[in-house]
């Protein structure tokens, strides 16, 4: 195989240039993935939530999860801050209300179903999928149990069944994907007596939130949490208390998680592709150099020998 130096350097240059061009083109556009059109979302209005735990009970029921030690009607559970577990995909936590000490604030925590999920972007077997309903689903049949998703999730949601020796799974809220495609409401939404959870198209949920801001400007912080956080989520929150007071991270920024690593990761195939080419190129060029040197040496030798030859012939002639 012969490869010309000029051709090789041309390839390297083109490859390098194409990565830079690709990046700047992306930065200059207004287009960004803002979720599947008409996908669903759930709006959690913390000002309406009374902390009855009906959502937790309903979640337990629709997902066939084991019964907890304390029943769902036991509200003393709210005294400690909890997080999602392998057997509880959603938890309601209680927080002090700076506006009204008599009426605490309740915040329901579960998978936020990001529009561009970090868990899906790190999963190299594609066990996670952002579906068109808005739900981020998980397929345990392909999962290898690397738990990258747990590390990647900015909301610290996915949990791992450490107690399952043979078939451990990642467990998290499914946004009731199986129910939603059947036309049913998600379990928690259906059970909420206060309608503190609203379900519908993401745009409609946003409209409801804004209408509430307009009608009751004193009641709310003028921000829909999840509209832009981490590139937007399919769970949206409105509150009368600043979100950081409810342990909701306000330092996440609006860039979707995959985009943070996209720059670095997009170059992986390029590096993987380019290194062999580069090394092979270097090898080929040096080989060619050696070959040329060899040929030149040979030529020099031959010409040197040729110069000697007449003498020999002379000798021959002489003899």
């Amino acid at each position: 195989m012969s490869i010309s130096r000029r051709k090789f350097l041309g390839w390297v240059g083109a490859a390098g240039l194409s990565t830079t061009i690709g990046k700047s083109a992306n930065a200059a556009t207004n287009k960004q993935f803002t979720g599947y059109p008409k996908s669903f979302a759930i709006l959690h209005d913390t000002t309406l939530c009374v902390g009855c735990r009906s959502c937790e009970a309903a979640c337990n029921k629709v997902n066939d999860l084991p019964q907890p030690d304390k029943p769902f009607t036991d509200l003393s559970v709210l005294e400690t801050k909890r997080r999602t577990t392998t057997t509880g995909f959603t938890v309601v936590n209680k927080y002090d209300n700076p506006k009204d000490s008599q009426n605490p604030v309740f915040y329901k925590k579960q998978c936020n179903h990001c529009l561009e999920p970090a868990c899906a972007s790190v999963c190299f077997v594609r066990a996670f999928k952002k579906t068109k309903t808005g739900a981020v689903t998980y397929d345990s049949s392909v999962c290898v149990g690397c738990r990258y998703c747990i590390i990647a999730c900015p909301f610290e949601i996915p949990t791992f069944e450490y107690d399952q020796v043979l078939t451990p799974r990642i467990r998290k809220c499914t946004m009731c994907y199986p129910r939603v495609i059947e036309g049913l409401l998600p379990g928690c939404v259906e059970a909420c007596p206060m309608e503190a959870l609203s379900f519908g198209k993401r745009e409609d949920m946003m409209t409801i939130a804004r209408e509430r801001f307009r009608k009751y400007p004193d009641r709310y912080v003028d921000h829909i949490y999840g509209e832009h956080e981490m590139g937007g989520t399919s769970w949206l929150y409105i509150s009368g208390t600043p979100f950081n007071k409810l342990d909701m991270r306000e330092d996440l920024g609006i860039t979707p998680a995959p985009q943070l690593t996209a720059g670095a990761l997009s170059s992986v195939p390029m590096i993987v592709g380019l290194w062999p080419v580069l090394l092979a190129g270097i090898y080929a060029v040096s080989k060619r150099k050696e070959k040329i040197a060899q040929t030149e040496k040979q030529q020099a030798l031959t010409s040197a020998l040729d110069k000697e030859r007449p003498d020999e012939s002379d000798i021959e002639e002489e003899s």
Partner: protein, 537 residues
């Protein structure tokens, strides 16, 4: 040739390395997600902080502003038997508020006065073995001072005003004054008294000839001077230390007179608020009778309503918006001045703020805060005189009409609720996990009627038999039996009617919301209203 080739190969490799490096930097962005710990430094709060910023008038400051604790110095000087004169000079029997001078002359002089006098005293104290303040520049001019001000503004409420009035033997001229431009002197004008702030603003105003000192300056000059003089006579007097007036805790200790007699300054008992004038604005709305005397009692100072002067509202706020004027709120029409929401000085704004009371919140918290008043409500203020009095009222002059009005109001007060309210309502719409809830309808209604008792305002505006009903039965015609809740509230999340809650949501939001807002009974779980349904076996 060989040399050229290796050069090209070398540059190829370096291009690859650069690409790798760029990618690595991209990966570093992920770090932006990690949390940063908060920078917390303990900060002390004091009410007596004075920031030395006098030199700002001479241009940009070289150093950060020094912070001075006034009470600390007063106390320290008192201990060594020194009084205010240790730092403040006196001119014409009045103590200057400035430090060791009467006037600010130049930058250099000021620097010298502060640096020399402060350090001089501190050095002397230290030499005498006492505890003293800084002597080095940076100890006063700190980049990040660890003390912050907890000063609260001081106000002269009706009680405090009355106590001073009493103590001064009813002599208003001890404090109130006007300025005569010709003789350049202060004089007292009877019947012209107003709040200090009408003339003395946040910042000094006026030109070189007539300079109106700032409120801050004026109040310290007048109050402290008088307090000092009174104390010198061994009489009881107000505070001299900063904290005495400006500390939140100390303010609570100020004696309050419970029944303050009405302030007399020639104000009317009742006023008829005009909706037209002689200059051509045709009255379109009914005139509004206003009980001035009663409203005086509801507020702590006249300034709550009379923002810029004690003149009548129409003096500053024009009836007609087309008239151009910009001074003293003249660009705000009379209509806006009376109806502006969220403003404590307007009728609507103040009345709406009363709706936030716990007794009212059950209904009013749910009402759209940006809605327009119903036009029927306009007539509660812009009232149509009762028919049998019309003749008398329409012929009488404004002053007489105002006198007659209280009689009219009395007749409209105290609504009688003759509504047929069912005793209990069983809410069967949602029977599933729980038995139907029994709603004690009459008990709730009676409790609401009782809440009106204490409030004249509430009684006056809940005039109609069914006004109270509409707290829950909203969007319902005033007459007749209201429709069932489930007629409108059916399944939740209806795309055609996004903002209408479903039946379960509407019940729970209404009941629990009202209980929460009015502080009735705390939510203690579903079984506080519903009996659990026995499972059929």
């Amino acid at each position: 040739m060989v040399k050229g080739k290796s050069l090209l190969i070398g540059s190829g490799i370096s291009v690859a390395i650069v690409i790798l490096f760029v990618c690595f930097m991209g990966a570093l962005d992920v770090k932006a997600l990690s949390k940063t710990p908060d920078d917390t430094q303990p900060i002390m709060f004091r009410p007596d902080i004075i920031t030395f910023d006098n030199m700002e008038v001479f241009g940009k400051l070289e150093k950060t502003k020094a912070i001075f604790l006034h009470d600390q110095h007063t106390d320290a000087l008192e201990k060594i038997n020194k009084d205010c004169t240790a730092c403040h000079k006196t001119e014409n029997g009045r103590m200057s508020q400035k430090f060791m001078r009467l006037k600010d002359i130049s930058r250099e002089e000021l620097t010298k006065i502060y640096c020399d006098n402060c350090t001089k005293c501190h050095t002397e104290m230290i030499a005498a073995g006492e505890k003293a303040g800084p002597v080095k520049c940076d100890e006063c001019h700190k980049e990040r001072p660890s003390i912050q001000s907890s000063r609260v503004p001081m106000g002269f409420d009706k009680s405090l005003h009355f106590r001073h009035y009493r103590a001064q033997d009813n002599k208003c001229d001890r404090c109130h004054h006007e300025y005569d431009k010709k003789s350049q002197k202060l004089f007292y004008a009877k019947g012209k008294e107003g709040t200090c702030r009408y003339c003395h603003k946040e910042e000094p105003e006026g030109d070189a000839t007539v300079k109106v000192i700032s409120m801050r300056f004026a109040s310290h000059l007048a109050c402290i001077d008088c307090h000092q003089q009174t104390r010198a006579k061994h009489m009881d007097a107000g505070p001299l230390r900063c904290a005495g007036c400006h500390d939140a805790q100390e303010q609570l200790k100020i004696e309050k007179v419970k029944h303050v007699p009405r302030l007399k300054r020639g104000q009317p008992d009742n006023v008829i608020i005009k909706t037209g004038d002689e200059k051509g604005v045709i009255p379109s709305m009914m005139r509004v009778p206003f009980d001035h005397k009663a409203h005086e009692a509801y507020n702590d100072t006249c300034r709550v309503c009379h923002l810029a002067s004690l003149e009548s509202c129409a003096t500053c706020h024009p009836l007609d918006g087309s008239k151009k004027a910009t001074k003293n709120g003249r660009e705000i029409t009379l209509e806006t001045a009376f109806h502006k929401r969220g403003h404590q000085s307007s009728c609507t704004g103040c009345h709406e703020s009363k709706q936030q009371d716990k007794n009212c919140a059950g209904c009013h918290a749910f009402m759209n805060k940006t809605r327009q008043q119903e036009s029927a409500a306009c007539l509660r203020c812009h009232m149509i005189p009762l028919p049998e009095r019309t003749g008398e009222l329409s012929t009488s002059k404004a002053a007489k009409m105002a006198r007659l009005m209280p009689q009219l109001w009395k007749e409209t007060f105290g609504p009688i609720y003759k509504v047929d309210v069912p005793k209990t309502v069983v809410l069967k719409d949602l029977v599933n996990q729980y038995e139907p809830a029994e709603y004690p309808h009459r008990k709730v209604f009676d409790a609401m009627v009782k809440k009106l008792d204490g409030s004249k305002l509430a009684q006056y505006f809940h005039y109609d038999d069914t006004t109270l009903c509409r707290g829950c039965h909203h969007n319902t015609p005033a007459a007749g039996k209201p429709p069932r809740c489930a007629n409108c509230h059916d399944k939740p999340f209806n795309e055609d009617n996004l903002f209408r809650p479903g039946i379960m949501g509407s019940f729970h939001q209404q009941c629990l919301g009202c209980h929460q807002k009015m502080g009735v009974e705390k939510y203690t779980g579903c079984i506080s209203c519903h009996k659990e349904r026995k499972k059929e076996s």
